[in-house]
């Protein structure tokens, strides 16, 4: 099996006079490196210039609020169950009177933590969520000095009302359709027979 067309058989042949002179070879090499002065750089100058990412990139999570600014999460724990890396922990609380503008459901997450070192960004939490509350976004998890700092609480996860995070790319009609049907698996979406059965 030939893996590359640049393979060369190693031989023990004597050098020719040109090769022994070394200087022609050196000049040839310098021309090759010199020609790279005029070539395009491979570097993506990261903080100033970002590599394009897929529209459905799975990065840092966001906990959505509804249009009135109330948190959508009802602390059902489906995401934590779905999480294969067991990165999500939460503690539920009961909504008091007068907190309707803060929490949409009667039960809400008092503590909601995702350990970003454990998370594998698979997106199963988002798929499991019945309230459209958690989404993966195109943002990245920042570098930190301490391992503890990677446990993101509600302060970092819940979106701010003045800086809402657009997740429409992850709510394509197909996805919305998919979410309507209970018990449907990913690969069954385009299978008309299965789709009919589940309906």
């Amino acid at each position: 099996m030939q893996l590359t067309n640049r393979r060369k058989v190693v031989s023990d042949k004597k050098q020719t006079v040109m090769e022994q002179l070394y200087l022609p070879g050196l000049l040839k090499g310098m021309l090759i490196t010199g020609s790279h002065l005029f070539k395009k750089r491979a570097t993506v100058d990261y903080p100033d210039e970002k590599r394009p990412i897929a529209p459905i990139y799975r990065g840092l999570h966001v906990l959505k609020r509804d249009d009135n600014g109330a948190e959508r999460c009802t602390s059902c724990g489906m995401c934590a169950v779905a999480c294969p890396a067991e990165a999500i922990t939460m503690e539920s609380g009961e909504r008091k009177k007068g907190e309707e503008h803060l929490y949409r459901e009667e039960k809400y997450a008092k503590i909601y933590e995702i350990n970003m070192l454990r998370c594998i960004f698979c997106g199963l939490c988002e798929e499991a969520c019945p309230k459209e509350a958690i989404f993966l976004t195109d943002r990245l998890v920042d570098a930190e000095y301490e391992r503890d700092d990677f446990i993101y609480g509600k302060d970092k996860l819940v979106e701010k009302m003045d800086q809402r995070i657009d997740v429409t790319k992850r709510q394509t009609p197909e996805v919305l359709e998919f979410k309507k049907i209970k018990g449907l698996k990913h690969n069954e979406l385009h299978d008309p027979k299965k789709l009919k059965d589940k309906h």
């Binding site: 200087l23 050196l26 090499g29 310098m30 090759i32 490196t33 010199g34 790279h36 002065l37 070539k39 395009k40 750089r41 491979a42 570097t43 100058d45």
Partner: protein, 354 residues
């Protein structure tokens, strides 16, 4: 009395200027090396510290000063400190005999020579001081009491001693063909006013000198003394903080000085080809003319430094036996041949008599 004082002041200014310029150019050579290497490898090179990464050398220098300075318990402390100092001192001393330009004429009628001292044995002084630099590396490597440092130091000293022979022979041929004076000013002047640059008379000698200069400055492909694959860091394995910085810095100063020597003795230094000088000579004052000449010299030096770096980022380093074969079996016979040819040609031209 006044004459002596003004002489001392002029020389002091020149000393400080050469000192500062050597250090500044060495610092910015590190920046240029990284930038140039980046371009050769389709990268940017340093660009975050200041515009175009121009503050990078300052940041690096600052970092080196603040790093912990470790002197190994088992080392000989005096020699351990003497090593890098010696390397640095000799590197800075070499700039003393190089004429950086034609003399300037001051308002009060004095002449300000752009050279610290015009020794009549200038070239011998250079070779001598450069050989003392070997001691710095040897002492530093030996005092570290570390086998890798010792091996690196042995390699460095044997390499530098071997290549000094060929370099000396190339210099003898050069001196014969440029009029028989060892003073650098005389050699530079012999290439001005319609004279050809020495490289036209000494092409082989120039190649030999260039290769030897690469070896003397421990630059690639002759950087075996600091061959990290075999010797950890070579002679500066045990060094840290600014003492390491002195070693690295001295390499760049040596590179600057050897570029200056090559640009000067083989490529005319502040002289330019006559047709080029005639373009502007009659239009400008004598001082402006001298300054233009200096700018030409700096450009030549810059090109040489860049070629040094270009070579470094192109070819891999030699093996130790290849290095010794090249030095003793090829360069020294070649430089003897070059010497014989030079003497023959000069005899036929009638410049030397028996």
């Amino acid at each position: 009395m006044l004459v002596i004082w003004s002489f001392i002041i002029y020389k002091a200014i020149m000393c400080v200027a050469v000192f500062a310029v050597s250090l500044a150019i060495a610092a910015y050579s590190t920046w240029w090396e990284r930038k140039f290497a980046g371009w050769l490898q389709d990268r940017y090179g340093p660009k975050r510290a200041g515009p175009f990464g121009l503050f990078q050398p300052l940041a690096d220098g600052g970092k080196l000063f603040f790093k912990e300075e470790i002197i190994p318990n088992v080392s000989n402390k005096f020699l351990f400190i003497l090593g890098p100092s010696l390397v640095m001192i000799t590197a800075l001393m070499t700039g003393a005999v190089i004429p950086w330009g034609r003399p300037l004429h001051l308002n009060n009628g004095d002449i300000f020579a752009l050279q610290i001292t015009d020794l009549n044995i200038g070239f011998l002084y250079l070779l001598g001081v450069v050989s003392v630099g070997v001691y710095g590396i040897m002492i530093g490597g030996w005092a570290s009491n570390n086998k890798y440092a010792l091996l690196g130091a042995i390699r460095a000293s044997s390499q530098m001693i071997s290549y000094e022979v060929a370099m000396g022979l190339a210099v003898i041929a050069l001196v014969i063909s440029s009029g028989g004076s060892l003073s650098l000013t005389d050699i530079y002047e012999s290439q001005g006013d319609g004279g050809l640059a020495n490289v036209c008379w000494q092409p082989l000698g120039f190649i030999i000198f260039f290769v030897c200069a690469l070896a003397e400055t421990n630059r690639a492909p002759f950087d075996l003394p600091e061959c990290e694959a075999e010797l950890v860091g070579g002679y500066h394995t045990e060094y840290s903080s600014m003492k390491l910085g002195l070693f690295l810095f001295a390499e760049y100063i040596n590179m600057f000085i050897s570029s200056a020597i090559m640009a000067g003795v083989y490529f005319g230094g502040y002289n330019m080809p006559e047709w080029f000088e005639n373009l502007y000579r009659s239009h400008v004052s004598l001082d402006t003319f001298a300054i233009i000449g200096m700018a030409c010299y700096v450009t030549k030096i810059f090109i040489f430094i860049s070629v040094f770096m270009w070579i470094r980022w192109t070819i891999p380093r030699f093996r130790y036996d290849q290095l010794m074969n090249l030095g003793w079996k090829i360069l020294i016979p070649l430089s003897l041949l070059n010497l014989a040819l030079t003497v023959g040609v000069e005899f036929l031209r009638g410049n030397i008599t028996i």
